[in-house]
Amino acid sequence: MRRTAKAAAFLAPALIILGAFTIWPMLSALRLSFTDASGFGEPEFIGLENYIGVFTDPDILNAVTNTALYTVLFTPVAVASALGLALLLNNPRLPFKGFFRTALFVPFVVSFSVAAFAWSYLVDPQVGLLNYWLRGMGIQIGNVLEDPHLAMPMVVLVAVWKLFGFYFVIFLAGLQDIPTSVYEAARMDGAGAWSRFRHVTLPMLSNTMAFVLIFAMIAALQAFDQIYVMTGGGPYGSTQTLVMEIYESGFRKLDIGFASALSYVLLAATLLLSLAQFVFFGRKEKDLA
């Protein structure tokens, strides 16, 4: 019992803040999701109507598909490039290590909106430098942000650019925690580079990997800022994501009840996917012990 009291003292400030400013609004949103709240007048209880709307609206289906596509494109590309570069940088003989590490992390400190301004200018069909260079190499990308097939990869690219440096630094810290003696032992046993990666690095990085994967996935499911600035969800709704829909129904159409229901659907999807990853990585950790 005394232990619980001690723990409570440590937990109190954070729990008060989280309780008042995250959990309470979250529960409020749940209540609103069963109403026709619009910001004007007293919200009326309308049962599951908003949720039925969410599952039957073709725009929402499109946003769900786009969000899934964004997640499937973003997560593996961002995580694999971060891990690959971290493994390469871990080479003790590599020169300019400090410079590369710093330089690759810099995009992470740039806001999504500034990143969106810069990339939009770079790929501008008339005066964009990147567009011009690619044309010089015989690659025509045309007006990327107006192309329904290229707009999505483009906004994903901006997210990879902005976020991979963060995952990269986390992987580097994780790699440094693996004792070199383990690699030496593996090498003595005749393990090649691939086998050392597969049987030493990956299992010993599983904590780090779980952390990075979950955060990359959440970042993908909540994609909003750069899309808002670069395409506004277009062209033809090809970059319209769930959070864009939440923003539009909540703040443009003031359909707060519907937006709240949509948020809860997104929350449920995120929880399920994260839980699946926890179970997967939890089992792996047990296997190692």
């Binding site: 232990r3 619980t4 723990a7 440590f10 937990l11 400030p13 954070a14 803040i17 989280l18 400013f21 995250t22 959990i23 979250m26 409020s28 949103a29 609103l32 910001g39 570069l85 390469l88 003989r93 590599l94 020169p95 590369f100 590490r101 330089a103 690759l104 992390f105 810099v106 995009p107 992470f108 400190v109 740039v110 806001s111 999504f112 909106s113 500034v114 301004f117 990339w119 200018y121 770079l122 008339q126 005066v127 430098l129 011009y132 630094v169 810290a173 925690d177 955060f215 909540q222 800022d225 600035v229 769930l242 909540g250 948020s263 809860y264 997104l266 929350l267 995120t270 929880l271 994260s274």
Partner: protein, 278 residues
């Protein structure tokens, strides 16, 4: 340098070249911000486009600083992001200590609740949260901006993972010697967690400095906005702002962060190196 490069294996040379190419591509958008900020309007819209300005000008910076109260906005960003960072580091590390190192009833449940709060999109809580802050009379105040973020689930989870990995024998020994939990936290766990605290501190500062929606919604007074929210006032539906002016504003918005990062990055790497040696 020459002798250092001579001893390199071909694979290391290839890796170095690959890193140079990747780094150049990664830094290109930053270069375009910096260089376009100093380009005259005619060059910004010229075809074919070029990376470097022929003529360097301060025109864009002048235009953008006359459109917005930049000194005030940058100051607000420092107060907001700095305030959030200080409070969140203290409150998050206290909570993370309990979750990683103390045995108590309901620990697992609390952890799940905290992780769950991470997953709700911020947009979903925004309306009830705004009503709450308005009821408290905190709209357009620093308290209103900072308080709701004085602790966050990400920081708690991140520090918990780090605290879990720290060896437990020292605090067991201190406990046997009669040290209280707060002492163990402050003099054993925290000093060993400096790299994690720096990483989280940088992360929190950057995220809040760069945050758009929060300051945009909570500060109806333009004087209380941040540099990031202020910048979007330039793009609004009212019209198209020239690329050069936009890049000048972007440069002002990213400069303090890039400098702060380069400064912390050094200590951050040193700390990883020293804790790695133990």
């Amino acid at each position: 340098m020459r002798t250092r490069l001579k001893g390199l294996k071909p694979s290391t040379v290839l890796t170095t070249i690959a890193f140079l190419v990747v780094t150049a591509l990664v830094l290109l958008p930053i270069a375009i911000i910096v260089l376009t900020a100093f380009k005259p309007a005619a060059e910004v819209n010229a075809y074919p486009p070029s990376l470097l300005p022929d003529v360097w000008t301060l025109e864009n910076l002048k235009t953008v600083t006359s459109e917005l109260p930049f000194a005030r906005l940058v100051g607000n960003s420092f107060v907001f992001a700095g305030g959030v960072t200080v409070f969140a580091l203290v409150f998050d590390s206290l909570a993370a200590y309990a979750l990683a190192r103390l045995d108590f009833t309901g620990r697992r449940f609390l952890l799940i609740v905290i992780i769950a709060t991470l997953m709700i999109p911020f947009q979903a809580t925004l309306i009830p949260l705004y009503q709450l802050v308005a009821d408290l009379g905190w709209v357009n105040t620093y308290t209103g901006l900072i308080a709701p973020r004085a602790a966050d689930a990400f920081g708690i989870f991140f520090l918990r993972q780090f605290f879990l990995a720290l060896p437990r024998d020292i605090d067991q020994a201190a406990r046997i010697d009669g040290a209280g939990e707060f002492r163990i936290f402050r003099s054993i766990v925290l000093p060993n967690a400096v790299p994690a605290l720096l990483t989280l501190g940088l992360f929190t500062f950057v995220n809040n400095w760069n945050d758009l929606l929060w300051p945009l919604v909570f500060t109806t007074d333009a004087e209380m906005g941040t540099i990031t929210s202020g910048l979007t006032q330039l793009t609004g539906p009212s019209g198209i702002v020239p690329h050069g002016v936009m890049m000048a504003g972007s440069l002002i918005a990213i400069l303090p962060l890039v400098i702060a990062f380069l400064f912390i990055q050094r200590r951050f790497i040193e700390n990883i190196a020293t804790t790695g040696l133990k």
